[in-house]
Symmetry: C2
Subunit: 376 residues, 2 copies
Amino acid sequence: MTSPMPARIGDPLSRVQTPALIVDLDALDANIGAMAAHVRGTGQVLRPHAKTHKSVEVARRQLAAGAVGLCCQKVSEGEALLPSGVRDLLISNHVVGAGKAQRLCALAREVRTTTLCSDTRHARVLSDAARSAGVQLEILIEIDAGDARMGLPDGDTTGLLQIAQMVQDAPGLRLRGLQVYNGPFQHIRSHEERTSAAVLAANRAKAASQLLQDAGLSCEVISGGGTGSFTADVEAGVLTELQPGSYVFMDADYGRNLDASGAQVSAFRQSLFVQTTVIRTASAGVVYLDAGVKSLNLDSGMPLVKGRPDLGFTKASDEQGRIEASPAGPAPELGEVLMLVPSHCDPTVNQHDWIVAVRNEEVEAVWPVDGRGCLL
Amino acid sequence: MTSPMPARIGDPLSRVQTPALIVDLDALDANIGAMAAHVRGTGQVLRPHAKTHKSVEVARRQLAAGAVGLCCQKVSEGEALLPSGVRDLLISNHVVGAGKAQRLCALAREVRTTTLCSDTRHARVLSDAARSAGVQLEILIEIDAGDARMGLPDGDTTGLLQIAQMVQDAPGLRLRGLQVYNGPFQHIRSHEERTSAAVLAANRAKAASQLLQDAGLSCEVISGGGTGSFTADVEAGVLTELQPGSYVFMDADYGRNLDASGAQVSAFRQSLFVQTTVIRTASAGVVYLDAGVKSLNLDSGMPLVKGRPDLGFTKASDEQGRIEASPAGPAPELGEVLMLVPSHCDPTVNQHDWIVAVRNEEVEAVWPVDGRGCLL
């Protein structure tokens, strides 16, 4: 039931069948190295988020560069990435339901497994599952990092102490610390505001950690941070481990984040593309591509066309995309191949079964997206 | 690399692991029967679009109900659906590039294969590929059905005659007729305006067909129409075959189409759902689900919650969805299972590896989404 591979090793990039997900290996390697170097020697550790790539091969490179383990968003994603050799997984999500808890415990038999909890009823289900499976689940209590989404509300000290005490005491569970992650903050454009948001999250985590420690409760780990906030996360020095995901690939949306000087943040290179072909020339300056919403994801806007600022991707149906040339530039020809920069890397990768790994315009490898569609 | 199945045969619906794609078999069977009955005896034939379901099992049911063949949007989708026993495929798209043309010709060795063309350069590539593969490709010339998208512009009689003549004369190609399909028209809410749009497309097709016949060119097939326009398509009596796809599943967007009396069109039942679990109760009236943009598709708006008009799906991240209860109703509990009605069926199905087929609240089968991720 796996779809056909779009390329073979040794193919020139121009002969890859489209639409196809392309990763530039030089850029990927540079990104993995740059993040590892930034965190090295800070006393913090790197636990990259694998929800971005869902790929054993990318995970291997992150682990080889010193990552302490991986984050996954789903238990089955973690299962799919075991061949990377990962020994320490954080399922950075709330794994709810008896069936899911069993699945989580089966994973905990293979590798050290940590997950999130912020509800005593949930803790009870996890404890029951762990006890009857004879495993230990490690727990981070999630606190609200400022987006009022998944964590315990700021200031709910009673709730925090109650759930932490319960986890610490519950058979089969081990209290390990705190999770403090804010997705929307990662995409704040202004450096100053993004930094303030990261500092807010860090301050909340610091206060919560102090509260736990004062009550004699464990807090050896504070996990969070991301590709948008990583410099501020390191500077604030509160997180013990960082969870960035998108830095390996980058996307058009992250490309709009600005540094302190107001320029585009340049720590990482765009390594991810969707290669596509012009399948129809329409009216003057308008052409259609063979890539639409089944090979891209448009929830963070439209993709960009690499090296062609004169071309706008203006619309998509399921299998087709519309390109409009600005009057000055010539429209691409029938059969011409374009490289799109996805607007949002994670859900775009999840549309594809294969990553075509390219170096110097030649296919070096074709990797499965091992965790694609792993929703459980 | 296939993700784990969310259910086993015999499981009660409530025990299916989430998020999971659910199909209500009674509704599915009723929809397949209703469309077949509507077209039967009209002199037109039904060629359902398989891009909606990408499923061998659904295709088998459509063929058993009298479908003459299937439409696919990609060559690899057609390959994936061959086990359905289909003998007649229309790749209702422009298959561009030498590699893709070879793939198309390999398919034509297996089954009768028709595809679209509206460009003489494209026709040349197809002809070359067919000749060197020793197969015959059947061709529909695509004409603009009113949305100025993929087809030859209305009134371009010179262009139409030129490409049709070339296809008729080209070795390896056989001119079969016309394709006239307008996607956006299917979603016009008003019955009257939707009917007018279908009549416009039919009139254009009729004129083009006459032009071909007057020039001694073949036009035995006029293919088009969809789930939004099917009654008008049948009434207009110009199309020789209908290509509806979404009618098997339906979605929240099609649910907003109105009939002549201004009521919701009721020819088909909602058979497709995404089952999801509440993984976190947040502030009053707000909960989070385990389904986000990696298990849904939001390009046609937000999903609805089945049987719970008091609950709004207001926001989604990659793996989570936000539900807000109206003040009157109680919010769902942690662990509670909800059924979402997807806003757009085709790209939602394409996120999933498995269809959980349910009858009377019990899992009757788990079908692979055979053509999932088939982008080539």
